[in-house]
Amino acid sequence: MTTVQPRAKKLPLKERYSLLTRDLDWEPSYVSRERLYPYTSYEGIKIHDWDGWTDPFRLTVDAYYKYQAEKDKRLYAVLDSFAQSQGHLSLSDASYLNAIKIFIQGVTPLEYAAHRHFAFLARYLEGPAPRFAALCQSVDELRHAQTQIHTISNYNKYYGGFHSWSKMHDRVWYLSVPKSLFDDAMTAGPFEFLISISFSFEYLLTNLLFVPFMSGASFNGDLPTMTFGFSAQSDESRHMTLGLEAIKFLLEQDEDNVPIIQDWIDKWFWRAYRMSALVAGMMDYMLPKPVMSWREAFELYFEDQMLGGLFPDLDFYGIKPPRHVDLAIGEKDHLGHQVYKILHNFSFAAAFTTSTPTDEHMAWLSEQYPSTFDRHYRPTWEKHRRIEAAGGRAFFQGLPQLCQVCQVPMAFTEPSDPTRISFRHSEYRGETFHTCSDGCKWIFDREPEKYVQAWLPVHQIYQGNCGGPTVPDVLNWYGIKEGDNGEYRGSADNTSWLEWHK
């Protein structure tokens, strides 16, 4: 016979939350508030009541560690069984791992950077509720960096390109795109950082970046990446909430905050969107079994959910959709193709490999992009095919001009003409600075004194700061070894893969 146990008595969630966050705060007595919190006034943001901020998750420290421990337990069970069963052999193809190489080189170091900066906010924001939310996020981000390194280290035993991701993040041309975005955010003030990373990146765009990425991992047999991805995403939902809470809080505190916030949204939407171009190329071209095109993901996660759902909500506060969003919508049928062309042309200098899409993949691209693929992009790939059929492989043998703001090679086209490269330039202190789009030019012109300091990989090579004047010198300085780079077909990964599947 079973007896029904009454539920254990405990404090209601709301009360527990209030006791364990706000009620643990105190007023400083022997230093002034200004000395204790020196960074919350210079950006012009006005806050009247820090207690106006509450975390909708009502997360307390005991609950936080309990759930995080459970998430880690589930993840490490998957990692162990995947490694023990030689799970890497059941991937769709070794070429799939190129996407994971870009992930560990480009994204994992950003998790660590976020960990650092949220630790800063956990100390310097004035309200106890946002401080505690920032502390949880800081610990989350460190967990993400660690679990990604653990997960992906299993592939490093068998495949190239995984070995020096941290050094590469600081040095390699395509990785300066994500690195410079975070550097830009971390050198802004605390409120701008909240709008840049918590709101524009986490709330507006991470769905678009991570969810299809993890679905792609699932579809291509990469169980560990799917699992760390979803494990991280469960934290990400909390980070999105922090972003949304931050913006609403700042908007509700004072009307004078509205134009400042709008300006930051305008800047950071475009900054984060431009970085996501790398994901567009990955989704459209790098998954042997593609799961969703960039266009479809953009429509689902950005146009429907953000422009259709969120921005009408923010209109209540006088916030409009981000400046230049029309350009992003206008290029959704082009972005992935243009980015992958860059990667394909320059992969001799990258720690991943590329290849011309197969007939089957091109048929999928035609279907996904009926208005653009056959007309503008298929001819390029067919030309590569002809060159390769004759035993060649075309790489671009020069260094590209980079956009001064997003640092992506200048290969995007004009909104009105997909056959013409888009170039913008600005003059500042007697010098000319080049940008790839109206969005990046607007950002440059808004803060030229910041962006003239950009560490542009191509300029650095020409200035002699990257190991020497030749391609082998630079690759050596990057930590890229023969076989990590170039064409996938016939590469070290491809050769081992075929050997293991004989």
């Binding site: 539920r7 209601p12 969630l13 709301k14 909708p56 998750f57 009502r58 609950a63 759930y67 459970e70 998430k71 589930r74 991470t206 769905n207 991570f210 969810v211 993890m214 679905s215 792609g216 991992a217 699932s218 579809f219 799917m226 979803f230 995403q233 469960s234 990400e236 939902s237 909390r238 999105m240 909430t241 949304l244 799961v291 969703m292 429907d304 959910q305 953000m306 259709g308 759902g309 969120l310 009408p312 909500d313 209109d315 209540f316």
Partner: protein, 94 residues
């Protein structure tokens, strides 16, 4: 204030543990649409999505804390307007 009917959404991991949770959400939200993507389930509904502890416990056959929802969620679109011991509500506020 009139209630908005703009779509809200919740993405959940597709797993054995989450099946009961998804059934409970389906039961409490008649206008729910469900889309399967590899590894995850995307739930969308006009206006709001409600998750009731009691419904989840009835499907699951054990006690369930609303905090456990954190183990299931991958992403969402909307705003958590309520999250207490008995209920979670995602909606748009304005």
């Amino acid at each position: 204030m009139t209630k908005t009917l703009r779509q809200v959404g919740i993405d959940l991991q597709e797993s054995e543990d989450n099946r009961a949770l998804i059934e409970a959400i389906e039961g409490d939200n008649p206008d729910l649409t469900i889309r399967h993507l590899p590894g995850l389930i995307k739930l969308q509904a006009p206006g709001q999505i409600v998750i009731n502890r009691q419904s989840v416990e009835a499907k699951l056959g054990r006690e369930w804390e609303t905090g456990e929802f954190q183990l299931a969620i991958v992403s969402y679109a909307g705003n958590f307007s309520e999250w207490d011991d008995d209920q979670i509500i995602v909606n748009w506020e304005h």
